[in-house]
């Protein structure tokens, strides 16, 4: 499969060649000895280990913390490529927020029959508890990580909209730090857009959505499940970079629908909670009562409008895999224009014809659980064994509504350092989009995940994938110093 894929640096011609505009990178790869690349890569990984940039794999011993493998060969986007992506991302995130405001509000889209009402209303990700309530400033998905794949020079597809608590942004930032330290010549060679103001923009976003009337200095905190969580490093990294408290549920208490945190100096009122805890766990009085991670009364405070939760409870309905397949219609409905970023073609197995097609083509398709994540609960037809295919066939027939199917795409590859030198490996891309009361902000960059095994399409870190820095080239000539903050793109309001 690897041979059929489009390589982002080498094009279709293979190692040594170069696509137009990528000559300098191809030359850098060719001219830097593999040994030297290996040395730098090891230095980066040693630094990550030392900093504790680790993730825990569930089911493994706590001591078995791992670092996500880092690849020293960066991925590069031309300025024009990024411009198109950015426009598409803004449009998509705007539509996601409008969709959420609508389905938890007037539900026009359901009345207009754009997508089946029961698909939304009886979806496990739909939270009737927040229906009719409006979050402060009507923003729901404050932080979105949109997973994208590429199959050709101009062919980008959205694979997944992560609108709940997307992770990975700390790797975007740490990878860049490592690259600047270890491969400074690349930044001499290319005018690269900076990503390091992401945390400033995140804090502005959080502050912009504080409940009305909470003054100019709202108290923002980051709520983590705790240091055993696999993404804890990221939680502490972000809280640190923003200079806000990293709290666990036990640090918070709710009195008269107001959220307080316990400090050595008494109680401090909390206005905005960037929660990295799923809906299910935030409040045992409303969601899972067996959860020890949540704050009793938090939802009442939220519904009373006294605290902002980012992302808002209930955003999961927007990134549900069953809803995903309707995203082109959703984008068209709310923005009035065609989606600039297409979806991957998707068969909804709940529909009879799609099910038949899927069952007939299991060996060619990727089949996913609509509520699965992290590469679990997934069939990759072309590489699956007969037994696995049969197991999925039974599961599909029994509960078709739980599955979608997609073609196996020839994902683009990027030159990657392997044991046998630099070779093409498949990648995906997750840029991070911030939606505040005053508009959408996207830093020019994102997390590139790379499947390190030859031919593999699975890039999830829990499945052995690695990461790369993603350099967005600037239109301007290279110059020193920090670029101006990206402009804010105003969001159109609601469903109207």
């Amino acid at each position: 499969m690897a041979s059929a894929a489009f390589d982002e640096v080498w094009g279709d011609a293979g190692p040594g060649a170069s696509r137009e505009g990528f000559e300098a990178l191809a030359a850098w790869i060719a001219e830097t000895p593999a040994q030297e690349l290996t040395r730098r890569q090891q230095a980066a990984e040693a630094a990550f280990r030392q900093l504790g940039i680790t993730f825990a794999v569930y089911g493994e011993d706590e001591a078995a913390e791992r670092i996500i493998p880092f690849d020293i060969v960066p991925r590069i986007f031309a300025a024009s490529e990024w411009r198109n992506l950015k426009a598409g991302l803004e449009q998509r995130v705007e539509a996601i927020n409008a969709f959420l405001a609508d389905v938890y509000g007037p539900r026009k889209i359901l009345r207009d029959g754009v997508l089946p009402a029961e698909l939304v209303l009886s979806n496990p990700q739909f939270r009737p508890q927040v229906a009719g309530a409006r979050p402060p400033h009507d923003v729901y998905a404050h932080i979105c990580g949109i997973d994208m794949v590429r199959t050709g020079p101009n062919d980008f597809f959205v694979l997944e909209d992560n609108a709940r608590t997307p992770s990975g942004v700390s790797y975007m930032l740490e990878n860049r730090e490592a690259m600047i330290r270890l491969c400074p010549e690349l930044f001499e060679l290319f005018p690269v857009e900076p990503v390091d103001d992401y945390t400033d923009l995140l804090l502005s976003t959080l502050r912009s959505v504080a409940p009305h009337g909470r003054g100019s200095e709202p108290v923002c905190v980051l709520l983590t499940p705790g240091h055993f969580n696999s993404a804890f490093y990221e939680h502490s990294f972000l809280a640190d970079a923003m200079g806000i408290e990293l709290v666990e549920a036990a640090d918070l208490e709710v009195d008269d629908d107001i959220v307080w945190m316990r400090t050595i100096d008494g109680r401090v009122r909390v206005d905005v909670i960037y929660r990295r805890l799923d809906d299910d766990y935030i409040d045992p009085l409303v969601f899972r009562s067996d959860s020890m991670l949540g704050v009793p009364g938090l939802m009442a405070a939220y519904l009373a409008g006294n605290v902002t939760l980012t992302n808002a409870p209930g955003t999961g309905i927007a990134d549900d895999k069953a809803i995903y397949s309707y995203m082109p219609e959703i984008v068209r409905y709310y923005t009035g224009s065609e989606a600039k970023l297409p979806n991957v073609e998707t068969w909804r197995c709940r529909e009879k014809q799609a099910l038949t097609y899927t069952l007939d083509n299991l060996d060619k398709l990727v089949v996913k659980l609509v509520d699965g994540s992290g590469g679990y609960g997934m069939l990759v037809g072309p590489t699956a064994s007969k037994a696995e295919i049969e197991r999925f066939r039974e599961a599909l027939v029994a509960e078709p509504h739980r599955y979608i199917a997609q073609p196996t795409l020839a994902l683009s590859t990027v030159p990657t350092l392997t044991e046998k030198g630099v070779a093409p490996r498949h990648v995906d891309f997750r840029p991070f989009c911030l939606s505040g009361a005053d508009g959408i902000r996207i830093v020019p960059g994102g997390l590139t995940r790379v499947a390190l095994r030859e031919g593999s399409l699975v890039v999830n870190s829990s499945q052995g994938g690695g990461t790369k820095d993603s350099l967005i080239l600037a239109d301007r000539p290279r110059r020193r110093g920090k670029a101006a903050a990206p402009e804010v793109t105003p969001m159109r309001s609601g469903a109207d």
């Binding site: 280990r49 030392q50 900093l51 504790g52 001591a63 705790g226 240091h227 804890f232 490093y233 502490s236 990294f237 809280a239 640190d240 408290e245 990293l246 709290v247 666990e248 036990a250 640090d251 945190m261 316990r262 400090t263 050595i264 100096d265």
Partner: protein, 311 residues
């Protein structure tokens, strides 16, 4: 600052201090066992266990008292909650949960020590044990250095407060064990074994040179007690630790704008130590004095937790 953060920082300070003290204790015991005029043998290792109240725990391992077995238990055993390994596990967990309150340097120092001790499987033989201890002491110094480069705010104050409370406890235990457990029956107070033992205690707290500077007339138990209990200029003495606790509480109180029960207790204790004399302590019973101090220190620890809402 969150109360939980304060608690984690405070315990981080205690655990790192405890790990370092245990490392020093093992080193001193090896020294006592090997280098004294007459071999101290089992007695030295038994008293090392007694210093950290680990006799029962060790007994449950079923192993005979030997340098390797006790050294391993004190250094690496996961069954021993006060082993260096366990302390560093706990210190790192605390540090990890309050990453945001620490500097990168301070976190890296803890993480490096943890990564190092995690990979030590066995300490076979004395040279290996001594090499490990050297490294751990260096890491602890590195952490202390990092700590002193942090902002002088609550975060660094709480870590140092934990360390000072722990250090006071450790020093008191160390002297107490010498007085009651170590000297084999029939050996004369002031005899060669007695002298070796007092020297070893000085070694444990890096005070041999300090002793020579302050007391010109050779080794006397009364002087050692004076040095380790009452001399403010001796960093690990009980008096110095008590001063540090009181100062740190004052610094925290100043930043918060109020003080509480813990401050009062810390100052009362300082006053008591300032009024004490070596002769008074010894004639009233050193053991009683030290037991009283350890209990008092535990009460102060509790009051700190109450005052900052973390216990």
């Amino acid at each position: 600052m969150l109360s939980r953060t304060a608690a984690s920082l405070y315990w981080l300070g205690r655990y790192v201090e405890r790990a370092e003290f245990t490392a020093r204790l093992i080193e001193a015991t090896i020294r006592l066992d090997l280098l004294s005029a007459r071999p101290a043998g089992e007695g030295a290792w038994e008293s090392a266990l007694a210093v950290v109240s680990a006799e029962d725990g060790f007994w449950f391992t079923g192993e005979p008292v030997s340098p390797d077995a006790v050294g391993r238990y004190l250094a690496l055993s996961l069954d021993n909650p006060s082993s260096i390994r366990s302390c560093l596990d706990a210190a790192r967990n605390n540090a990890k949960s309050v990453r945001t309150a620490l500097t990168r340097e301070a976190w890296e120092a803890i993480n490096r020590a943890w990564l190092f001790v995690r990979d030590v499987r066995v300490t076979d033989g004395t040279p290996a044990a001594l090499a490990m201890i050297e490294k751990l002491k260096a890491e602890a110094r590195g952490f202390e250095g990092a700590l002193h480069r942090m902002l002088r705010n609550e975060a660094s104050f709480f870590v140092r407060l934990g360390a000072a409370i722990e250090r006071a406890d450790n020093t008191a235990r160390l002297i107490d064990v010498k007085y009651h457990l170590l000297l084999p029956e029939g050996e004369k107070v002031g005899g060669p074994i007695d002298r070796d033992q007092w020297t070893t205690i000085l070694h444990t707290v890096s005070a041999v040179t300090a002793y020579r500077w302050l007391y010109r007339e050779g080794l006397r138990p009364g002087h050692v007690v004076d040095l380790l209990v009452l001399r403010h200029e001796m960093p690990r003495s009980i008096a110095a630790s008590a001063d540090e606790v009181a100062q740190l509480l004052t610094s925290i109180g100043r930043r918060l704008g109020r003080q509480g029960e813990a401050d009062r207790m810390a100052r009362t204790r300082q006053l008591m130590l300032n009024r004490s004399t070596v002769n008074g302590i010894i004639s009233g019973g050193l053991h009683e004095f030290l037991r009283g101090f350890i209990a008092d220190n535990a009460r102060l620890d509790y009051a700190i937790g109450q005052q900052f809402r973390f216990s």
